[in-house]
Point group: D2
Chain length 141, copies 4
């Protein structure tokens, strides 16, 4: 089992909307890219977030984000955004994410997600089906 094997990847193209007058991607937008990749990772595991909300009244919220910006991305760049599960607790998931251009890491992050009730934002135990899917993913590697 390698780190690469445990990672999910999602491609992101850089458009005008992502850049700023410095000629590079605005720093807040990496959090958008990381979110897109997490959504696709959850979808690949079988979890549509709209469905999770409609059926269970649960949503994920980010409680912590730490990002290191190493190199700028520019218009037309094709990035690969990765998601690696770094830990799971009763109501939270910890993820390592990175944005790469080829083999260069442009930004890397540690993100903590909490499962909360959509109406109240109170923490809720992660659905067992998600824990099972995460465990089976880990076992397959």
């Amino acid at each position: 089992m390698t780190t690469a094997a445990r990672s999910f990847s999602h491609p992101v193209r850089i458009y005008w909307e992502d850049t700023d007058a410095g000629g590079v991607v605005f720093y807040a937008n990496y959090l958008k890219f990381f979110e897109r990749a997490r959504t696709e990772w959850l979808r690949a595991l079988g979890f549509g977030q709209q469905q999770m909300r409609n059926e269970r009244g649960l949503i994920f919220v980010v409680t912590d984000s730490a990002v290191r910006y190493l190199e700028p991305a520019r218009l037309d760049d094709e990035l690969t955004v990765t998601v690696t599960l770094a830990g799971a607790a009763r109501a939270t998931l910890s993820l390592a994410q990175a944005a790469l251009r080829g083999s260069s890491v442009l930004a890397e992050s540690r993100i903590t997600l909490a499962c909360v009730e959509a109406a109240s934002f109170r923490p809720k135990r992660l659905p067992q089906s998600i824990l099972d899917a995460l465990a089976s993913t880990a076992l397959q590697k």
Copy 2:
């Protein structure tokens, strides 16, 4: 009654988030500025949109936007964004809006808003209190 007298104005400062790699404000972001000014215009008339939704289950949606981009705005610019009521029907409002830097019009727009039920997005008659407020505003000028 002058055009100026019938207009509401809201200041908007240009930050990095608003610009793109062309060195100027990204064209979609003028729609954000126009929306901010409309929200402040409604607030000045006494209508918080959060309150309108909680109490009546109604929200405004844009059904048409036409924008002419005349001159670019840049980082650090201070714009004035205006709202002028151009027409009101049973369930819609028509607004003329502009973004100016000093006396230069950078962008001008015609926006149509529809009042809809938040749950279904079905058109609903405008609340009488809004029509009254709009009418009294017009009369004062």
Copy 3:
């Protein structure tokens, strides 16, 4: 030659970043989707915008956008965003664009692009290579 045959299509997935507290896609964000599709359309024609800027000092700017919003898009939706050339003049292109979910048109627009010098934003004649590519595309249909 059919309308479909003359259109370019680009897929757009709806993420959290695209939605607002009304539960649907924020109206300004359709302009982002339209821009992404235009960029991919130009790229498919052989024109990277970064390259066009570096080699010729030219960029495209939007001078007019008119959008009709017909139906809301929601989280997780997969849209198809189309680009159809509606006209070309010395320094401008006119495009018809739409965002569809399946066969439902959610938003449709008419966009005018001007070719300008990146440094001065002064209008410049469209590069002949773009006109040739557009003409040959039209002829193939």
Copy 4:
């Protein structure tokens, strides 16, 4: 000298553009608010970033951002976003920032800025005039 005394504050109103379908502010947007407050803090110290770029060819880039999201912000909320200098080195500034609603801290962050050459993104010594302004600010407290 108290922490409050050393802080700069900037008001931020929450608009539709800032929210997502969860009904609250999208997590990436706090980085926009933090950036706006930093820009106003620099401006209050006498440093327009456009000017810094034009005259010296220097821009600030974020190299690290760590954010804790404690409570959600919602449509119409009025936030106060603070900037506190936490440290200055040869080419970097370290800032503590927070977004508050009344006395409730909604999000808090530690941000590292590097001064770089706009053309190359290579690190450059902070302009002495900025260091002087920061020092004199600290002395006044």
